[in-house]
C-alpha cells in the first residue's frame, strides 16, 4: 500500500519535473546568442618560454589562482589549461622546463607532475610521501643525469625524469637551526645553501646518486637575515641583496668561502630610492633586478632592457555585457581592499544612474590606502572610466563602516556615508549634508564584528560639537568563544515584492512576513565535544529583535546564503551523513495582515510563522544567487555555481518549504510539487551548457529593462555572462518567431483575394452578357 502510493507520488513528481525541465532548457541554436564566457588564468607567478622545437611559440605559465596554462605567445590565446585545487593543496610552487615537458610541483612540495608542453597531457605524477607538506617549498632543478631534485623545508628528494620514480629521499642536515632555500648542482653533487640568521651561510654537499651528506661548510655572513632575498644563478653563483647598506654579495660555491660585496649604486648608475628588490630569472650569466620605487610599479631592468613586468594592483574594468570585451580599465594607485569576514572586498556604489540626463552617471569605489590605512575613494564615470574628480579622494580617517542613503540630493546623487573609527559620520558628496540631516531621523546602521561576535545597532544623531555621530542603540552577543560570525546577508535594496501573500488551495491568503530590515547572520563553531555546528540568526537590525534562529548540529560551512522577500535559502555540509544539503526557510504573518500600509520595526507584527524544509544536493555548490526583476512579477529562480564548472538554474518552487509529503487536492490546487529528498542537476538546467567555468567566487544578478529577463554575471577564475528568463520570455516575441512564414501567407492571401475578386467580377459580367 505505502509502496504503491510512494511509487505513484514518485511518478507524479517525475512527470511534473519533466515539464519543468523541458520548459527551461535552451535551444541548440541559441548558443552564444545571449551569453559569452571567458576563460582566464589569473595572476602569473612563473612563466617559461617553450624551448622545444615545435614551430608554434608557446609560453607555459603558472598563476596564483593555482592554474597552469600554455599560451600562444603571439595572440595570448590559451592552448591548454589545468586548474588545480583552490585551497593551499593546489598552490603551484615551481614550474620547470625539461625538453618537451613541463614539470610542476604542487601539494606543499609533495606532488610532482610532468606534462607534455605541447598537448598538456600528463606523463607521470609521483609523490614524496615521507616529506611533510609545507606552504613554501623550493624549486626544481634538472641535471644531466635525468634527475629532478626537490627541496622542501625538511627533506630533499630526487625523482627520475622518465618515469617519475623517486630515487632517493634525504633529510636536510641541521634542519632545526638552518633554513635551506637554495641549491645548486654539478655533475656529482648537490649543494644545499642555507642560512642561519645573523651568523653564517651553510653549504651542505650531498651525493647525487645516493643522497648521503658528504660535507658541510660554513661561510661567515653576519648581515644575513631570514628575509634576505637571494638568487642562485644558472652559472652557480649566489647573489644576495642586503637592504640596509644596499650591497650585493656574491659567492661561488663550493670553492668560495667569502662573500664578495658590491654596492648597488655602482651597478645601477643612478641612485633611486630603492625600497624592495626581487630577482627574476633571465639568462645564465646576468640577473634581472626588479626595483620598486614609490610609484608601486615594478619594472625589470637589465643589460639588454628586456621584459617589463607590472605588479598587479586591484583594477576596475568596464566590460561590455553583450560581447565581453573590455572597454576600459583603470588602475587606482595605492589602493588595497578591505578584509571582510575573511574575504577581500572593494565596495562599489552606484551614486547616479544614466536616467538623469544631462548629469553623467557616477560610480564610486572605496578602498584602503596601502600605507596609512585611511579611506580612498575613487569616483568615476562607468561608461568611460574617467575619474569625475580631479584625482582620487583621500579621506583622512579610517573607514569602519560605509553605507549608502536611499534618498538622493538635488543632483540625483545618492550620498554615501562613512563612519570612522571615532564614530563620526562623514558624507560624500560633502554638499549633501541636508540629505544627511533628513536621513538621520529615519536611517539606522548596524555592524557585526567577527572578532568579538557582537552585532551592534547604531542610530545617527547631530551634535553641536562633533557634527554627525553614531551611537549604539542595541547589541546582540553571538558568543565569540564557541562560534564565529561567517556571513552577514541583507536583502537587496532595489528588490520589489509583487504580491503580499500566497494564495492557498482553499482560496484563502497566507500573508508574507516582509520585513525590509531583516538581516541573516550565520555563525559556525565547535561545541565542547569537538562537533561543529552552524547557526542561523535572523535579526531585525533596527530594533535588535532576534526574529528567528536555527541550529544545525554536526554541520559545517562554507554556507552560501540567498536572502530575498520573505525567504532564506542556504547550503551547508552535513558532517554526519557526509552530504551537502540546502535548507529553505519562509516566514508568514498568517491569515491576516497586521499592518496593511507600511512595515515598522518599532511596532512590529507578531513573531512570524516559519516554514522550513531541507533537501539533499548531490553536488557541491560554490556560489549562489537569485534572479531579480524590476517589478518582481516573474518567478524566482536560484542560480547555483557548481564545483564541476556548471551553473545550475533551479526554480524556487523546488525549494519551497510547503512542499508536501503526501499531496492532497488542495496542495495540487496551490501548485506545490510533492516532496522529494534529492534535488538533482539535470543537464537541461545548466545555463552554461558545456562551457565550464571553474572556481567561481560569486554570481551577480541584475534586473533588465524587460520584466521577463534577468542578467547574470558569474566571476571568479572564469567569467560568464548571460540572460535568464524564469517565466520564459512572456513580454518579447520568441526568437524563432516565423516572420517569413506569416508574411508569405499574408501576402498570398491578400493577392489571392484580389485576384479571385477580379475573376468573380469578370465571370459575373460574362454571365450578364450571355
Amino acid at each position: 500500500m505505502a509502496a504503491s502510493t510512494c511509487i505513484l507520488n514518485f511518478v507524479k513528481c517525475l512527470i511534473i519535473l519533466f515539464f519543468v525541465n523541458v520548459s527551461l532548457a535552451l535551444y541548440a541554436d541559441q548558443v552564444g546568442k545571449f551569453d559569452w564566457n571567458q576563460k582566464l588564468i589569473g595572476k602569473v607567478k612563473y612563466a617559461l618560454f617553450d624551448h622545444s622545437t615545435h614551430s608554434s611559440k608557446r609560453i607555459v605559465v603558472a598563476t596564483e589562482e593555482n592554474v597552469i596554462a600554455a599560451l600562444n605567445s603571439k595572440t595570448g590565446a590559451i592552448l591548454w589549461r589545468h586548474v588545480f585545487e583552490k585551497t593551499s593543496v593546489g598552490i603551484v610552487h615551481a614550474l620547470y622546463n625539461v625538453g618537451n615537458d613541463v614539470v610542476t610541483l604542487t601539494g606543499g612540495g609533495n606532488i610532482i607532475r610532468s606534462w607534455n608542453s605541447a598537448t598538456g597531457v600528463l606523463h607521470w605524477e609521483s609523490v614524496a610521501s615521507k616529506s611533510t607538506a609545507t606552504d613554501n617549498p623550493q624549486s626544481l632543478l634538472m641535471l644531466e643525469k635525468k634527475t629532478l631534485v626537490v627541496l622542501t623545508s625538511d627533506t630533499v628528494f630526487a625523482v627520475g625524469l622518465a618515469t617519475g620514480k623517486i630515487k632517493w629521499t634525504a633529510e636536510v642536515p641541521n634542519k632545526d637551526t638552518v633554513v635551506y632555500k637554495h641549491f645548486y648542482t654539478d655533475l656529482d653533487n648537490l649543494y644545499l645553501i642555507g642560512t642561519v640568521e645573523g651568523s653564517h651561510v651553510t653549504i651542505a654537499t650531498i651525493s647525487l646518486e645516493t643522497g648521503k651528506v658528504k660535507l658541510q661548510t660554513q661561510v661567515p655572513a653576519s648581515w644575513v637575515l631570514l628575509s634576505t632575498t637571494c638568487k642562485m644563478l644558472q652559472s652557480g653563483r649566489l647573489i644576495c641583496f642586503e637592504p640596509r647598506m644596499k650591497y650585493l654579495y656574491s659567492l661561488q660555491p663550493p670553492s668560495g668561502d667569502q662573500f664578495v660585496p658590491t654596492a648597488l649604486s655602482d651597478v645601477m648608475g643612478q641612485l633611486m630610492v630603492i625600497k624592495d628588490v626581487s630577482f627574476t630569472d633571465l639568462h645564465a650569466d646576468s640577473v634581472g633586478v626588479q626595483v620598486a620605487p614609490d610609484h608601486h610599479i615594478v619594472i625589470t631592468v637589465d643589460a639588454s632592457g628586456q621584459a617589463k613586468l607590472v605588479k598587479d594592483l586591484p583594477q576596475v574594468f568596464g566590460i561590455d555585457n553583450l560581447s565581453g570585451e573590455v572597454i576600459w580599465q583603470k588602475l587606482i594607485p595605492g589602493i588595497v581592499p578591505f578584509q571582510q569576514l575573511g574575504k577581500e572586498t572593494l565596495p562599489l556604489f552606484v551614486l547616479r544612474t544614466t536616467a538623469h540626463f544631462p548629469h553623467p552617471p557616477e560610480y564610486a569605489v572605496l578602498g584602503k590606502h596601502k600605507a596609512t590605512g585611511n579611506g580612498l575613494l575613487d569616483v568615476f564615470n562607468p561608461i568611460t572610466g574617467r575619474c569625475m574628480t580631479r584625482e582620487v579622494i583621500q579621506l583622512n580617517y579610517r573607514v569602519q563602516h560605509v553605507s549608502q542613503l536611499a534618498q538622493h540630493d538635488a543632483d540625483f546623487v545618492r550620498p554615501v556615508i562613512f563612519v570612522d573609527t571615532n564614530k563620526l559620520i562623514h558624507v560624500y558628496p560633502e554638499t549633501a549634508t541636508d540629505v544627511l540631516m533628513e536621513a538621520v531621523a529615519h536611517n539606522y546602521l548596524f555592524s557585526a564584528d567577527a572578532d568579538t561576535g557582537v552585532v551592534t545597532g547604531y542610530r545617527m544623531s547631530l551634535t553641536a560639537e562633533k557634527g554627525f555621530t553614531s551611537e549604539p542603540v542595541w547589541s546582540v552577543i553571538l558568543s565569540k568563544d564557541t562560534q564565529r560570525i561567517t556571513n552577514v546577508v541583507a536583502k537587496r535594496q532595489n528588490e520589489h515584492v509583487h504580491s503580499q501573500g500566497r494564495v492557498l488551495g482553499d482560496r484563502s491568503v497566507l500573508y508574507k512576513y516582509l520585513n525590509p530590515n531583516l538581516v541573516v547572520f550565520t555563525t559556525e563553531g565547535q561545541d565542547d565535544q569537538e562537533k561543529s555546528y552552524v547557526t542561523l540568526y535572523l535579526i531585525d537590525v533596527i530594533s535588535g529583535q532576534v526574529v528567528f534562529s536555527a541550529n544545525h548540529q554536526r554541520a559545517k560551512g562554507p554556507v552560501n546564503i540567498v536572502h530575498s522577500e520573505n525567504w532564506v535559502v542556504y547550503t551547508y555540509w552535513n558532517q554526519r551523513l557526509r552530504r551537502h544539503e540546502v535548507a529553505a526557510l519562509e516566514m508568514y504573518e498568517g491569515r491576516t495582515q497586521s499592518n496593511t500600509t507600511a512595515f515598522s520595526s518599532l511596532a512590529p507584527p507578531p513573531t512570524p510563522i516559519v516554514e522550513r524544509q531541507a533537501y539533499i544536493l548531490p553536488y557541491t555548490v560554490v556560489a549562489m544567487t537569485t534572479t531579480i526583476t524590476e517589478k518582481g512579477i516573474t518567478n524566482r529562480h536560484i542560480l547555483l555555481a557548481l564545483a564541476d564548472g556548471g551553473i545550475l538554474d533551479l526554480p524556487k518552487a523546488l525549494l519551497d518549504p510547503r512542499r508536501p509529503n503526501t499531496p492532497t487536492a488542495e496542495h495540487r490546487e496551490e501548485g506545490l510539487i510533492p516532496y522529494m529528498p534529492e534535488i538533482g542537476a539535470p543537464k537541461e538546467m545548466i545555463i552554461n551548457y558545456n562551457r565550464s567555468v571553474f572556481n567561481i567566487d560569486a554570481i551577480y544578478s541584475a534586473p533588465a529593462g524587460l520584466e521577463s529577463t534577468t542578467l547574470i554575471f558569474a566571476y571568479g577564475l572564469d567569467l560568464f555572462c548571460t540572460r535568464v528568463w524564469p517565466s520564459k520570455m512572456f513580454d518579447v516575441l520568441k526568437d524563432d518567431f516565423d516572420y517569413w512564414l506569416i508574411s508569405v501567407v499574408l501576402t498570398a492571401l491578400i493577392l489571392s483575394s484580389i485576384i479571385l475578386q477580379k475573376m468573380a467580377a469578370r465571370k459575373q459580367l460574362h454571365a450578364a452578357w450571355k
Binding site: Y27, A133, E684
Partner: protein
C-alpha cells in the same frame, strides 16, 4: 664466577636495551613515516578518443567537489595522492559526458573500498570494483529540440482525417469507376436500378416465406373471395 655472570647479565641487559630502543626507534620511525596522509587512489576513465582527441585534457577527477583534483594520463588512468583516511566522493568532471560518481572509503588501516554513491541511505554498501573504473552514463544533453512544423502535423489531425478522407473517397472513387462512353454509363445505371429494385421486395418475400409458407396467399385468396 659471580663476576662473569654479573658481566654476562650486564651484557645481556645492554643488548636488550639496545634491541628495545632500536625496535622502538623503528616503530617510531614507521609512525612518522606512515603519517595519515599517504593513501593514493587509482582508477581509469574509459576512453573518449572517438569523440574528441584531446579528451584527457578536458577531463579531470574531482574529489569531494574540488577538495582534491586528479588529472588523466594519455590512457585515461589517474591517481589521487596524499589522501587521509576517510570517505570521499570521486566524480569525473567532463562537460560533455556524464559519468557515474563513486564513493571511496579509506579506513584507518589503509584498506580502500569503493561503493556506489547513495546520499539518501549513506550507510548502504553496494561495492564497485577498485581500482576505480568509471561507467559512462551518457552524453550530456543541454538543449531541447526546436518544434518544427511539418505537413504531417496537419494531415494526421483526427478532425482532418474524419472530414477530408471521406470527401476524397466520395469524389475520387466514382471518377475511377466511371467509364468514358455514355453507353456503358447507362448500362451501369440500368444495372444499378435492376439490382436495387427487385432486391427490396425479394428480401421481404423471402423472410415471410421463411416464417410462414402459404398463409399470406390463403389470406390473400380469402380476401379476394
Amino acid at each position: 664466577m659471580a663476576l662473569n655472570t654479573a658481566s654476562m647479565m650486564e651484557n645481556f641487559v645492554d643488548v636488550f636495551i639496545l634491541l628495545f630502543t632500536t625496535i622502538v626507534a623503528f616503530a617510531a620511525g614507521n609512525d612518522t613515516g606512515g603519517s595519515s596522509f599517504h593513501y593514493s587512489v587509482e582508477g581509469k576513465v574509459p576512453s573518449l578518443q572517438d569523440y574528441y582527441p584531446d579528451w584527457t585534457i578536458r577531463t579531470r577527477i574531482l574529489v569531494n567537489g574540488g577538495q582534491y583534483v586528479g588529472f588523466l594520463k594519455h590512457d585515461g588512468s589517474f591517481q589521487v595522492q596524499n589522501l587521509a583516511s576517510g570517505s570521499y566522493v570521486f566524480e569525473v568532471d567532463n562537460a560533455d559526458f556524464d559519468f557515474e560518481p563513486v564513493r571511496v572509503d579509506i579506513n584507518s588501516k589503509g584498506k580502500i573500498r569503493a561503493r556506489k554513491v547513495n546520499y539518501i541511505q549513506s550507510s548502504q554498501v553496494n561495492t564497485v570494483q577498485y581500482p576505480l573504473k568509471f561507467r559512462l552514463r551518457g552524453v550530456a544533453n543541454y538543449f531541447q529540440k526546436r518544434e518544427t512544423w511539418r505537413i504531417t502535423d496537419m494531415l494526421m489531425n483526427p478532425m482532418v482525417l474524419m472530414m477530408v478522407a471521406p470527401l476524397l473517397l466520395m469524389v475520387v472513387l466514382p471518377k475511377l469507376t466511371s467509364m468514358q462512353d455514355p453507353e456503358s454509363q447507362k448500362e451501369m445505371q440500368d444495372m444499378q436500378q435492376q439490382i436495387q429494385q427487385p432486391q427490396m421486395p425479394d428480401i421481404a418475400e423471402k423472410l415471410t416465406s421463411l416464417f410462414g409458407d402459404s398463409r399470406p396467399k390463403s389470406i390473400k385468396a380469402k380476401k379476394v373471395k
